[in-house]
């Protein structure tokens, strides 16, 4: 319904970046990254704050000229053909940037007019889009008093007014409460099902796992790894993780003892010990057999968080 039906054959690769670099003065925000995005994919940049994700998104959004490398979007050059590319992009910025004093419908009208769409077309699409983001009843309301989740959904509706070829979402659920996040995820998942090509940045591993077919893990301006969430976990982590928590005064001693168990890898965090193993329950038995009794233990599947920890030695939220 919302995906644009192309009447001209398009190249399958929508975004191609080679050694893409962005510098601000002496600071290198994006340090020679290469990736490709194909039509219909949901592609993610996962990394902590300051990893260079937003800078990359701004370059793809043609509002930030690359400092080096090659970037082609929809077969065009972002610097010389920015307006033509942007005509076919949808952008959901982290800050929403809605016209808060205007009504919900006026927001879509103004934005649609930026794209040169006729009023009749905008009105028609507005009905469908507001229905899609569950804001039909709020059409005539001013935006300012709406909740954060509603505003984000409106921003998503607004970004779809031109039926974009690619939808760019920068941290789509940052700052939302858990319930609102799930509603946004549900809508984005539906878009994905409809074949809309998504690029998103996130520092939430659960968001990346739920929404991305393929993702790159970014750290300090570079790509640390690339693959589907499953592949990344299989490659960089074990099937299960045993989390152990000890009393603070035992923590250090326990870490030394646990190091003697048969695990693929161990991470000692400030408050927990993570054991990367194929069988978490078996590992826990082994820990107990060494005479240790953790205050709490948890066996769970590996996540992208573990992949990130393995690749960078830091946790995602540490930045």
């Amino acid at each position: 319904m919302l995906g644009r039906v192309a009447d001209v054959p398009e190249p399958a690769v929508l975004v191609q970046a080679t050694d893409l670099t962005k510098r601000f003065g002496s600071f290198t925000a994006v340090d020679g990254i290469s990736f490709e995005l194909s039509r219909g994919e949901a592609f993610g940049f996962l990394g902590p704050n300051g990893a260079g994700k937003s800078s990359t998104m701004r370059m793809i959004g043609c509002v930030s000229p690359p400092s080096g490398g090659d970037l082609t979007i929809l077969g065009m050059d972002p610097v010389s053909q920015g307006p033509a590319i942007r005509a076919r992009l949808g952008v959901v910025p982290q800050e929403d940037r809605l016209d808060e004093e205007l009504t919900v419908r006026e927001n879509l009208l103004i934005y649609g007019r930026y794209f040169g769409l006729s009023k009749a077309i905008i009105a028609d699409r507005t009905d469908r889009l507001l229905d899609f983001v569950q804001l039909s009843e709020r059409g005539g309301d001013q935006v300012e008093p709406l909740s954060g989740g509603m505003k984000r959904r409106l921003t998503i509706a607004r970004s779809l007014i031109n039926e974009p070829d690619i939808l760019l979402l920068d941290e789509p659920t940052t700052g939302l409460d858990p319930q609102a996040r799930h509603v946004v995820w549900d809508r984005l998942f539906r878009l994905k099902q409809q074949g809309v090509t998504l690029i998103l940045t996130t520092h939430y591993m659960d968001e990346a796992e739920q929404l991305c077919d393929r993702l790159v893990v970014m750290d300090r301006g570079k790509i640390a790894a690339e693959g589907s969430p499953r592949e990344l976990i299989d490659t960089y982590s074990t099937r299960e993780v045993l989390e152990l928590r000890f009393a603070p005064d035992e923590h250090e001693h326990a870490a030394e003892v646990v190091a003697g168990t048969k695990a693929d890898r161990m991470e000692v965090l400030a408050d927990r010990i993570l054991l990367y193993v194929a069988d978490g329950d078996a590992a826990l038995l082994q820990v107990r057999s060494l005479g240790l009794e953790p205050l709490a233990s948890l066996v769970r599947r590996s996540t992208l968080e573990d992949v990130f920890l393995r690749l960078t030695g830091r946790r995602l939220e540490d930045g």
Binding site: V5, R58, V63, I110, Y111, Y114, G116, N162
Partner: protein, 273 residues
Amino acid sequence: MTAVAEAGARASVAGPWGMSLRAFRWWLVNYRRTWRGSIYSSLLNPVLFLGALGLGLGSLVDKHGTARLGGLSYLAFLAPGLMAASAMQTAVGESLYPVFSAVKWQQTYQAAAATPLRPADIYRGHLMFTTMRLIMNMVIFLAIMAAFGVVRSPWMIAGVPVAVLTGVAFAAPLDAFAVTREKNDQAFNVIFRFGMIPLFLFSGTFFPVTQLPAWIRPVAYATPLWHGVALCRELNSGAPDLLGAIGNLGYLAALAAISMLAGQITYRRRLYV
């Protein structure tokens, strides 16, 4: 849904004029909410100034002889110059804070920059709206002048576009400057105190520049407001001196044109980081 060939169904890129018009629409849609209040102040401002200064202060001035005002009553002297000065005020009001708000507080500029619009289109769209506001206010000002009985020549109708151009000559550089402000709006106070207020007071609006000490007069002649004030005042007395008028208009047009080039650069630098 099939691919529709219907006009306006596909996002499109237009020429500079068409794209600027799209940016202009944002201001129009927002203005629909606030136009009433703005009309009141557009009416009230000239009435207060012409009443208090033109009539009130003017009655004192007129008692002391008006030879230096060219034999005019003070009200008749003041009104056309004040029209140009009020164009400057309108331009300042539609430029500094609205630009800062659009780029910093609301980020409407950045929202527009994510669409086919280019920074230059966003800049020109804002200037188009300021021009519209100037036209409205100057027409109102002329009507109030007529109500006060001080429109002395049909040439004064040409004072409207002259005052509008004066306003644009202020708005274009002020927009270009305001968009460069990253952190705060402190610089605006400096502009008000050391730019706009001295210009307002000393550019010949309230008394002829010839009353100033000789050494400082060239400064007054160099300010854009003086050119607007002088030409508006001349138009109210009949056909202007052609060469002088070309000089005034040329100065204002050149200032506007050069500022617009600068604004395209400053807008791009701010919006394409």
